[in-house]
């Protein structure tokens, strides 16, 4: 064969591919490999007995067990609550449905560690306000409710994680072809039978995928167990890793224990994701109708008002009560005083913006999350384009590296980043903001890839081919056709990273230095030091920033959607 075109030796596409692989290898690949190497090898030799010995150590074994129990309990409670409210909103004639639906998603906005802080203030066995009130009211010797327990951790995590299930199931119920239920009805089945035999089995894939998300999240969750558990000696894997590393001042032995526990976390997460994959494949059927009709609604009749009240109370307890508590505690002159006007002051709030530690924390969080969101979004767009559109050899490496971040808990990423960036390869950015920045990119790359590749898959190849046929170069096609079409996906990737990064705790708590605290770390540290009032004041400021951020973004996205 004679090649009549003179091809350059290295094409632009190859450079982009190599660069994409490089980004993923450096940001995700090397940290993960180093974790496994450190876990299994000691002094260059395979060390399985050492691995087993650490797992057998009652201290670490207990943490592992707690992590599993918390994950299991949280998944169970969140799924039950989520499915119930989803059904109530989508399938009954509950009044004010639209408002209720929006309200059920509010717990997403409230960072769970701030929620946990509020509940500790209200329900800690020693000084909890509600406990004190109940003890006085009922003349009890001991606090009736102890939130600082395994049960407490499970309940509080469920409060803030159930929207994962709610969101999935509610939308499945809403989009489901109503004739699937109508044909069961005309077959003679009553509403209860239909719910049991038709509706629930059909939305089971959505229930499971929501439940597994909760499991994945709670298995590796740091915030709630750290605030409610550590004081009482209840540790899960992430809090145990933190405790070991900090009590030993960052010794390598502690880090090694951390990597072994991380390995277990990664394996569990991978198993959960694999299970999700299998279940979703099995239940892969179309239940969404082409034409939308109103689904049949169960008439609640006499239960209509009581169930509305139950829902409102639920939202009141999970969202309003903790938020109000945080704001009130943040204004107290001294912690432990009653919430009377004479005990409240604005000074605490003003101090947040004057005091260097909190001022730094806010600034760090804002610029780190903005920067990480921008970089991760752009890198994700490039990598997704290579994965989805050009099909070069070696693409499978990219795909493998691309899915990896999905199964990496924040603690694991932090450890991997410590191992990689504290001098081993000649670069030491430990104790600088850069290490948090790099960790955020690794942690949120999965979001960016997901959002960008979803957008890119919508852009049919023929659109690009049409542009090339019109005489545009590859670059012009990218600039004029592809990028404008995937812009919504890119923007949503940006916010999917920016908002959670703003309130991040799990990763940054292992990486912060004296001047590089994030908002999450600062709140946590203040709480640890017993500065509950200051912690609450900072948390209030954080809540306001998050609320303003979320609403303005939602408005912005809605306006964008209207334009398109």
């Amino acid at each position: 064969m004679v090649d009549i075109y003179t091809k350059p030796k290295i094409s632009a596409a190859q450079i982009v591919l190599v660069f994409s692989i490089l980004v993923l290898v450096v940001v995700v690949g090397i940290p993960v490999i180093l974790i496994f190497l450190t876990a299994f090898f000691e002094d260059g030799k395979l060390n399985i007995p050492g691995f087993v010995q650490i797992l057998k150590d009652p201290d670490t074994y207990q943490a592992l067990w707690n992590s599993l129990v918390i994950a299991f309990g949280t998944t169970l409670v969140s799924t039950t609550v989520g499915v119930f409210f989803a059904w109530l909103v989508a399938r009954t004639d509950l009044p004010f449905k639209k408002t209720m639906k929006a309200l059920f998603l509010v717990p997403f906005m409230l960072p769970s560690f701030i929620g946990a802080l509020a509940w500790k203030v209200l329900l800690s066995p020693r000084a909890g306000y509600i406990n004190k009130f109940l003890m006085a009211l009922l003349g009890l010797e001991r606090a009736p409710i102890d939130i600082m327990s395994m049960g407490g951790i499970i309940v509080i995590e469920s409060m803030y994680l159930f929207p994962f299930v709610f969101l999935q199931v509610e939308s499945a119920l809403e989009r489901m072809d109503p004739t699937l239920e109508e044909s069961a009805r005309i077959s003679g089945a009553g509403l209860l039978t239909i719910t049991r035999k038709i509706t629930l089995p059909l939305v089971l894939p959505s229930i499971l995928s929501g439940a597994l998300l909760v499991a994945l999240y709670s298995l590796a969750h740091f915030g709630v167990p750290a605030i409610l558990g550590t004081e009482k000696g209840i540790y899960n894997i992430p809090t145990k890793i933190y405790e070991r590393i900090y009590s030993s001042g960052g010794s390598f032995r502690a880090i090694r224990v951390g990597t072994i526990l991380s390995t277990i976390l990664v394996i569990s997460a991978a198993l959960i994701l694999k299970a999700q994959d299998l279940l979703l494949k099995k239940g892969k059927y179309q239940i969404i109708a082409g034409k939308s009709m109103r689904p049949m609604l169960l008439k609640l009749r006499a239960l209509r008002t009581p169930l509305l009240i139950v829902s409102i109370i639920y939202i009141g307890i999970t969202v309003i009560l903790p938020t109000v508590t945080i704001f009130l505690v943040g204004g107290l002159k001294t912690y432990g005083l009653s919430f009377e006007l004479k005990n409240l002051t604005w000074a605490n709030y003003l101090e947040i913006f004057r005091w260097k530690m909190t001022k730094d924390a806010i600034w760090n969080s804002v610029y780190l999350s903005l920067g990480a969101a921008l970089v991760t979004m752009l890198a994700g767009t490039m990598i997704s384009y290579v994965i989805v559109k050009s099909r070069p050899r070696g693409k499978f490496i990219l795909e493998l590296l691309g899915v990896l971040p999905f199964s990496l808990p924040g603690t694991v990423i932090a450890l991997g980043v410590i191992l990689t960036w504290s001098g081993r390869f000649g670069i030491n950015i430990y104790n600088t903001p850069w290490i948090i920045f790099v960790a955020y990119i690794a942690r949120y790359m999965a979001f960016s890839l997901k959002s960008n590749s979803a957008a890119l898959q919508q852009v049919s190849d023929s659109l690009e081919e049409a542009s090339r046929a019109c005489g545009a170069t590859h670059f012009q096609t990218l600039k004029n056709i592809v990028l404008p079409l995937i812009r919504p996906g890119m923007i949503s990737a940006f916010f999917l990273i920016f908002l959670p990064a703003l309130r991040e705790l799990t990763t940054s708590v292992l990486l912060y230095g004296p001047t590089t605290r994030t908002i999450g770390v600062a709140i946590y540290a203040l709480n640890e030091d017993g500065e509950t009032v200051r912690a609450a004041a900072l948390a209030s400021v954080a809540l306001i920033i998050i609320l303003v951020g979320e609403t303005s973004i939602r408005n912005f996205l809605a306006r964008l959607q209207k334009q398109e």
């Binding site: 072809d177 109508e182 044909s183 005309i186 077959s187 003679g188 089945a189 239940g283 059927y285 179309q286």
Partner: protein
């Protein structure tokens, strides 16, 4: 006695009247179609009969028994009506096998196991599904999925079968085949069919009687042939086949195409009841094209001829108006721009709008 009776049934969605004062009687064992364009209220009527929609006014009686009544505020729930129903989107349950889909209505009715197996088998056999009874629907074609829906509906031996555009998601060839299968099933199980469709050929082929509906109002009820031969109005005429409407001026029983009053008339039997002007309506096949030199017929010009295989499709202009004519190929081919004369064999007369 009539099996099904609708008395002055009215349904509104917000301010829009979807069905307006519908009166209807359907006999036992009849195959009755509702025909009309989308949004005409035919599906709403069927859903009211099924019990999925309440009535804003009127009553529904089955076998003389009240099933729905706006006056008594009484509605027998759909699951108590013992009807069979097939939906356009198949609505077979993807998490159940073919067998379990068909057995579901019998399980609900707590039919004894042996009896149930016998009936499921019979339903599967008569729909040709026996060989694939253990498969899941998502693996099957649209035609097979719709057969499952049919088998599921006949399994309970319903007195009335409601079919909501059951064939419109299938390809044309399969559609024709399934028509006969539905008729076969009816013969075997002896149920009454209420059939909703927007396809006039389907309605004609299947129905004993049919109802043409537009904008919630009944236009005509009758046997297919009656409706075809004696359409009640312009809408019915245009809906049940290809149609031409030629504006004519009527003078002394003679009808002239508008603007051609000095040439030969298109008919000498025009009615006087619509006054000076009206529509002459006719099918494209009811027109004779005679060569231009002939004396009889109205002069016209071929503006476009399209060869369709067995037929040739012409656009022909008569003065400022254009009509469509279809003739068998064997009659020869006229060329574009050729002058010809037009004679119309069968004309329906309708007043101007």
């Amino acid at each position: 006695m009539s099996e099904l009776k609708l008395i002055s049934v009215t349904k509104r969605f917000n301010q829009v009247v979807a069905v307006n004062k519908l009166n209807l009687e359907v006999q036992k064992g009849e195959c009755f179609s509702f025909l009309g364009p989308s949004g005409c209220g035919k599906t709403t009527t069927l859903r009211m009969i099924a019990g999925f929609e309440d009535l804003d006014e009127g009553e529904l009686l089955v076998d003389g028994e009240v099933y729905s009544s706006s006056y008594k505020k009484y509605y027998l729930p759909p699951e108590k009506r013992d009807f069979g129903m097939v939906f356009q989107a198949f609505a077979v349950w993807p998490h159940l096998t073919v067998w379990d889909n068909v057995a579901f209505p019998l399980q609900i009715r707590r039919i004894p196991k042996l009896e149930m197996e016998k009936r499921v088998k019979e339903a599967l056999q008569s729909t040709g599904l026996s060989a694939i009874k253990d498969l899941y629907p998502s693996k099957l074609s649209g035609g097979e999925q719709q057969r499952i829906a049919l088998a599921r509906a006949v399994a309970i031996n319903p007195k009335v079968m409601l079919l909501d555009e059951p064939l419109s998601n299938l390809d044309p060839k399969l559609r024709e085949e399934m028509r006969f299968e539905i008729k076969d099933l009816q013969r075997r199980f002896g149920f009454t069919i209420l059939y909703v469709t927007h396809d006039q050929a389907e309605a004609m082929a299947l129905s004993d009687r049919m109802l043409v509906m537009n904008l919630g109002v009944v236009q005509q009820v009758g046997k297919p042939l009656e409706i075809y031969n004696e359409p009640a109005n312009k809408f019915v005429f245009s809906f049940i086949g290809l149609s031409n409407f030629l504006k004519v001026r009527v003078r002394e029983g003679k009808a002239y195409p508008l603007g051609q009053e000095h040439g030969p008339p298109i008919s000498t039997e025009a009615p006087s009841k619509y006054g000076e002007s009206c529509y002459a309506a006719f099918r494209p096949g009811e027109v004779d094209l005679i060569s231009g030199s002939s004396e009889s017929g109205v002069p016209a010009i071929v503006t476009r001829s399209t060869f369709l295989g067995d037929l040739v499709d012409y656009r022909i202009s008569i003065g400022s108006q254009e009509i469509r004519v279809q003739k068998p190929k064997k009659n020869g081919l006229l060329r574009n721009g050729e002058a010809c004369r037009v004679r119309i064999n069968r004309i329906h007369w309708f007043p101007l709008d």
